[in-house]
């Protein structure tokens, strides 16, 4: 059995850990609110962008000559995967959930004999993937200096992707991120951004007759690269909200567990203190009796 001093030390160390996790939870909660707000504020932009592209792509009559970003290269031999993760740990299953999702996709790609290329955004994803896929990772981007997800960073990633696409380095591009549902649920997502998958919603919008200035192709050519950045920005916003949510619930759990541990250790401490006193008393009494 541990001595009283040892128990005392352990209790105080668990208590200070609890203080840290509690503080981290508070910080995450405050950041979560901000991240959630900016995710919501960012939504109209990506929605409108999507709508316009939907309208435009339904207006493109000549599918053969459509921009390659929309129609693809006609091949799907080389897959580029962009894995968006956090730069920090201690956020529960946040990073490993994305990695797990991405890994199962990688498996599928290599099983069908296609070539795989990986770009990691965020250092945690790189750390986890570099062991297995070191030779596949072609780029590792990290935005440790930026406090919040911002469009400037997303644009940088978007430009890298487009540059690689124009150099014919890949045929299909998929991004991986966590979608924020609520504080305890984040859903890992895979989303194909090149070639663009347009879900035909209803035909109402496509019947609209737009005037285009200049023509459709030119607008599409200008718009599609922007859309890539927008999609990545959206993913980054969702990711940052998810990260904070995940961290908050993980730290909440940790705080609770620490509390339970302190309770248990305190009981043990009191018991052994009492036992020590009883033992001493018995010794005194039996000593007195023997006189």
């Amino acid at each position: 059995m541990a001595s009283l001093d040892d128990l005392k030390k352990r209790i105080s160390s668990v208590k200070s850990t609890q203080k840290i996790t509690k503080a981290m939870k508070m910080v995450a909660a405050a950041k979560l609110r901000r991240a959630q707000e900016s995710a919501e504020r960012g939504r109209p932009y990506s929605e409108k962008m999507n709508n316009i592209i939907l309208n435009l792509s339904s207006g493109v009559s000549d599918k053969e000559n459509a921009p390659k970003l929309l129609s693809g290269t006609g091949d799907d031999k080389v897959h580029l995967c962009v894995v968006l993760t956090a730069d920090r740990g201690l956020c529960g299953g946040f990073n490993s959930n994305i990695i797990k999702k991405a890994k199962s996709y990688f498996q599928k790609i290599s099983d069908t004999g296609k070539t795989l290329k990986i770009i990691t955004v965020g250092s945690k994803g790189y750390d986890q993937l570099k062991r297995l896929y070191q030779d596949k990772i072609i780029e590792n981007i990290s935005f440790k200096e930026s406090k919040n997800a911002n469009y400037f960073d997303a644009d940088k990633v978007g430009k890298i992707i487009i540059e690689k696409f124009e150099n014919n380095e890949f045929d299909v591009c998929t991004i991986f991120y966590n979608q924020f549902k609520n504080v305890i649920t984040q859903i890992p997502q895979e989303q194909q951004i090149i070639p663009l998958k347009t879900e035909e919603k209803d035909n109402k919008s496509s019947e609209e007759n737009y005037e285009f200035e200049p023509d459709e192709d030119e607008i599409l050519g200008n718009l599609l690269p922007k859309n890539i950045s927008t999609q990545i920005f959206k993913a980054m916003l969702e990711n940052s909200a998810s990260e904070q949510g995940s961290r908050m619930s993980a730290m909440d759990n940790a705080t609770r567990n620490a509390g339970e541990m302190v309770d248990k250790l305190t009981i043990e401490y009191n018991r052994s203190r009492q036992a020590a006193i009883t033992k001493e008393l018995i010794e005194i009494i039996s000593g007195a009796e023997s006189l």
């Binding site: 960012g42 109209p44 962008m49 435009l56 469009y151 737009y210 607008i219």
Partner: protein
């Protein structure tokens, strides 16, 4: 029935401006300035660097944009842009930084004519802002 139409300006981070009852908007469209009034036919176009003028019955607002997309449909004008600021509270330093950046870009050799034109145009507009 109101006299005007609705304008939404959004940038990736937030909704920049949302205003009902606007009587006229002038946007620097790709092929020249374009004034939009109520009941314009649906149009999609994109922007070059310039000034967006939002005119309503009581007031007039000017914004500087660098690029973007405009869509007009059902009497709603949506402008998507990643770079916009209100000229009234324009940060002098920010503007002069932008001018310097653009001029630096202009000095590069590998520019095509279209890009050069756009950059020259941008510098011109920004200078006109900084003077006011």
């Amino acid at each position: 029935m109101s006299e005007g139409f609705k304008i939404d300006i959004v940038n990736p981070e937030k909704s920049f401006l949302s205003k009902e009852n606007v009587s006229e908007v002038v946007v620097p469209a790709y092929e020249g300035e374009m004034g939009i009034l109520k009941d314009h036919i649906p149009i999609i176009s994109f922007l070059k660097p310039g000034i967006i003028k939002v005119i309503s019955s009581s007031e007039e607002h000017n914004f500087y944009v660098e690029d973007g997309i405009v869509e007009f449909k059902d009497n709603t004008l949506s402008i998507l842009t990643s770079s916009i600021f209100d000229i009234k509270n324009a940060n002098k330093k920010h503007v002069s930084d932008e001018i310097q950046e653009a001029e630096k870009e202009l000095n590069k050799d590998d520019l095509n004519d279209q890009k050069r034109f756009l950059l020259n145009h941008k510098v011109e507009i920004l200078k006109s802002i900084s003077i006011n």
